[in-house]
Amino acid sequence: MLDRLREIGEAAREAFSSATDEKSLEDARVAYLGRKSELNRISRGLKDLDPEERRRVGRATNDLKKELAALCEEARERMAEGARRTGALDLTLPGRVPWVGRRHVLIRTLERLEEIFRTLGFEVALGPHIEDDFHNFDALNIPPDHPARDMHDTFFVEGGRLLRTHTSPVQIRVMQSRRPPIRIIAPGRVYRNEASDASHSSEFYQLEGLYVDRNVRVGELKGVLTKFLHELYGQDVGVRFRAGFFPFTEPSTEVDLQCRVCRGRGCPVCKGTGWVELLGAGMVDPRVFEAVGYDPDVYTGYAFGLGVDRISMMMTGTDDIRLFLENDLRFLDQV
C-alpha cells in the first residue's frame, strides 16, 4: 500500500508540475485530489485495515494529500503570475480612483495655526461678524473721529451696526464674559471696505490671540510668538520685534520674520530689508482693561493678530489674495 502511495505521489507531482493551463491543472486536481481519486479511495478504505497498518498508511496518505494540495496551489499561483507577465493584467493602467476632495487652503492654514497655538495652551473663541461700535472700536481704545479709524475702512449695516474690521472684538466679548486667566485665539473672517487688488481683499481672515493674567510680561509675548513662528517656519528662522502702533496695545510691537526668499540678505520680496512683516502685537492697553471692568493694576496681558491670507500666500507662493475667494478648482488643487 505504501508503495502504491509512492507511485501515486510521483505521478501526481509530475502532473502538477507539468500543468500549463487552468484546464490541465484542474484535470490533475480531479485525478489526484478529487472525490473519485485513488488517494481518496485509499483514505476511505483505511477503516478496513488493521490498526497498525491503518496508522502507517493513514499518516502517509494525509501527508501526501497535504503535499499535493500545496503543489496544486503553487501551480495555480504560477499560472496567475504567468498571466500577469503575458499581459492579461497591465499594472501600469490607471486604477479607478474615486473623487478626492480637499480642504480650502485658508482653512488648512487656520487649522495649522490653531494646532500650534493649542499646543501652547490657547483655546479657540469665536464671535459675531455683525458687531457694534463698542466692541469693534470704543472698547479697543479707538474713539469716534480718531485718525486710527482710518486704518479700518468699515462696512455699516442698519441699526448702527457694522461688519467687524478685525477679530479683536472677540477679545472684548471674552473678557466681558469671564475673569482671567484668559488664553484664547479668535480666528475668522473680517471685512474692510476697500477696493480689491492683488494684496487687498474686502473679506479676509485673521487670527487674534489674547492672554490675560497676573504678571504677564513682554518677554512672554516674545517667547510665545517666537515659538509659534519657529513651529511654523522652522527653528532656524530669524524673528525681529520692533516698535509698532495699535490703539489697543501699549507698548505695541510689529513682529517680522526673516525673509524666506533671500534668507535675510535682501531681495525684492522684502524690499531689500531682509525682513517681512507678519504679526502685530503688544501689551493690552490699560484703557482696554478699564472698558471691560478689569483692574489694570492687577492684570496685565498681551494680544496679537495676524493675517491668515498673508501667511497662506507666503506658504504657497500665491501672488494674488483674490484667488482665495474665487475658488477656481485648478487653483485650489495647486495650493
Binding site: 473623487w99 486710527a148 513682554v218 525681529r240 520685534f241 509698532g244 478648482l329
Partner: protein
Amino acid sequence: MQVSLKWLGDYVDFEIDGAELARVLTESLTETDYLGAPGAGVTGVVAARVVTSEKHPDADALKVCVVDWGEGSSTVVCGAPNVRAGMTSVLALPDAKLAGGMKVSERRIRGRLSQGMLVSAAELGLEEASEGIIDLGDVDVGSDVRDLLGLDDEVIELDVQPNRPDCMGVLGVAREVAAALSADFRVPDFEVRESGSPAVEAAAAELADPEGCPRYIARLVTGLTFGPSPPWLARRLRGAGVRSLGNIVDVTNFVMLEYGHPIHAFDYARLPEKRIVVRKARRGETLTTLDGEERVLSDADLLICAGDSPVALAGIMGGGETEVTPATRDVLLECAWFDPVTIRRTARKLAMRTEASLRFERGIDASAMGDVAGRACALMAELAGGRVAPGAIDEGRKDRGEVTVGLREDRVRAMLTDELSRDDMVLYLDRLGFDVRPGGDGSLDVTVPPHRHDVETEADLIEEVARLHGYDRIEAIVPYHPLETTGDPARRMRSRVRDAMVGLGLHEVLTSSFVTPETAEAAGGDPVLVRNPVNKDTPYLRTSLLPGVFDVIRRNRNVGVRDVRIFEIGKVFGRSENGQHREDWRLSGAICGLRGRPVWDTAPDEIDYYDGKGVVWGLLEALEVDSPETSCYDCPFLSSDAGAGLGLSGRPVGAFGMVSRETRRLWGFDFPVFAFELDLDELAVRCDKEREFEPLPRYPKVRRDLAIVVPEDTEAGSVLRSIEDAGEDLLADVQVFDVYRGEQLGREKKSLAFALTYMSKDRTLTDNEVDDVNARIVDRLLREFGATLRE
C-alpha cells in the same frame, strides 16, 4: 512722510547711511523704507549758461544753442519749450550717464551737431515727468550740479502712525533719529527782522468758534517779489517729494514739512476785509477752493473768513480768490490751531484729504506756533525780498497746559524686563525730550514735551522706554501653560462635517458674504443691507450659501472645469423674530458633471438625484446620524419634484435635491446640478450624542430575497417602512437591491426587490421562524400596496 538725509542733517548729526537709518527707525519708531538717492548713477553733468539760442533751420520745434559750461562751450540742439538765452541749466556732456542708465553721446540732430544735451529734472531722476529743462536760477557756471540738485541725497519714507503727528514734520523725525542714535538735536536757527508799522494796525482776527479754532496767529509780510526758489529750497522740497512752485508757496510748504504744522498764505490785497473771522459755515454756504471746485458746506464745517466772506476751508484748503499768485506783493500768513475732529469730519465728508488736513486732524504742537509763523516770515523776507511787519495778530489760548504722568519703576520692570534700571528709564525719556524728576515711592514724574501730546498715560511712557531700549533686547520667555480644551460642540461638528465632505470627494470653497439684490431676493428671507457696499452690485449679506456655491460652479465651468463637487461651511445672516441680527452656520454643497472619474474602461454618466442624495446620506452616516427623515421643504433653489427637506427628530435641518429650472436659468446652467444646504447648528444639536457599545452578533444571519410587483407610483420608502414594521425584532436589515420595469410586468407596474436579513441576539433562528416572519411581511405588502409576488 518722505525726507532726505541731508535735510535731517540740518538738525541732527549722524554718520550712518540711508539704508541703515531706515533700519534704525524701523526698529525704534515705525516701518521706514529706504528709497535711495534720486540721481544715483548720474555722471557727467555740469551747470551751464545758455549763451545763444536760435531756431533750428530744419525743425520748428528745436533750437540750436551755444552753452558755456566754464571749462569750455558746446553747441547743443534742444527741444525744450523753456530754453532761452541767458538761463542757467544743466548740461550733460558726451559720455554722461542719466537716470535709468541712459547714455549721452555727440550726434547730429536734423543735420546739426549736438555736443551733449540740456536735461530736465526727470532725466536726472528727480521727478516723474518734466515739462522742460532745469532752470537753475542764479548759479555760477560750472558749479557742482550733483550737490546743487541733491542727486546724492538719499531719501527715506516713514509710515507715520496716527498717534505721532510730530513725525509728520522733519523736525519730529530728526528728534527720533537723535534719540535712537544718542545724537544731539538742534532746532532751526532764524531771526525775524521786523520793520514798518505793526501787524495789528493792518489786520485783525476774531475767533467766533474757539472750540474749532483755539488759537490763531497771523503775520504780515509786505513788498514780496514772486520768483523761483533758490536751489537749496527746491532741493529740500524735492527730497520730500514736493515740487517747487515759486518762492512764496515753497516757503509755506517748507515750513509745513519742517515743523509738521501747515500754514497758509493769503494774498493780503485780495482779502475783501482785513479782519479774519474764524467761524462755522452756514448751511449751504459755498466756497470755491484753490483747486477750482465749488464746495457746498454745512454748519459742521469751519471757515476762515475775511469779514463775512469765506476765504479758506479751515485746515484743509485755501480759497481760489485769495490765493498767492505771481502778482502777489503782500501776504497775510496764517498759523492756526484747529480742532482735529472738526477738520477730520469735514475732510472726510468732502473727500479732501490734503497734506494740511492730514496734519491738523492728528493734532499740531500748539507750543511751537510762534516759531512756525516766525520761521515762515523770516524765510519769505529772505527769499522774496519782503518786509515783516512787527508783531503778530495772536488770538485765543496761548498753550495747551503741561502734562505730567507718573511712572512706577516697578511697573516698567514688571512689564518689560528686570534689567531696566532707573537710570536707563531716565536716560531714554530724556533723550526723547521728556522732563523726568524723581517722585515718591520709586516712581518718576515725567513731564511730556508739548509735541508729544499722544503720551497721556503710564502705559504710553512704558512704550517709550521699551522702544528705545529695544524690543529685541528683552529676553523671550516661553511659559508653560496647561492645555485648554475646547468645549464647543458646534465647532467640533464643523470639523467633522469638513472631514466627511472631503472624504466624499468634495472640494471646500469659501465665497463672499456679499450678494446681489437678485440673489438675495431669490434666496428669500429678510437680508441685511450694507449701507456702504464696496461693490454697488452686492449690497446684501447672504442668507444662503447656495448662490455663492452656484457662482463657483459657473466660474469653473467658464474656465473648462466641468466636474465640480464643492461644499462650503460658512455663516449666513438674517434677522430673528424680534428684529435682531442673527448669524447661523450653514453647510452647502453642490455637484455637477460626471458621476465618477472617467477611466479607460468606464465612461461614467452625468450625475443624477441619487448621486447627490448619496453624498448627503454619506455625510449623515459619517456623522452617525440615525434615521434621517425626509419631508416637504422650502428651499427656493431646488426643484419641487426632485428635492426634499431633511429632518432629524422631527426638526427640519435643511434641504437637498436637483437644482430647479428657474435657478439653472438664473445661473445659465444647461446641465443638471444637485445641491444641498443644512443648518449646522441644528445638526450639531442632533448629533452630539455619546456612542454606546453593543455586543457584536453571535448567531448566524439568514438572508431571504423578496421581489414584488407594485403600481408605478408606489414609493420604495413606504414599502421599506412596512417591511421594517412587519419584520419586528428579527429583521436586522433590509435593502432595496433592484428596481425593474418590463413588458411582462404590465403597464404602470414595476418590480421592487429587497434583501432581508434576519438575525436574533440570543439564538440561532430556525427556518420555520424565518418563514413565519417572512410570510407576515409578504401578506402585509400584498394587502397594503396591492402588490403581487414576483417569481
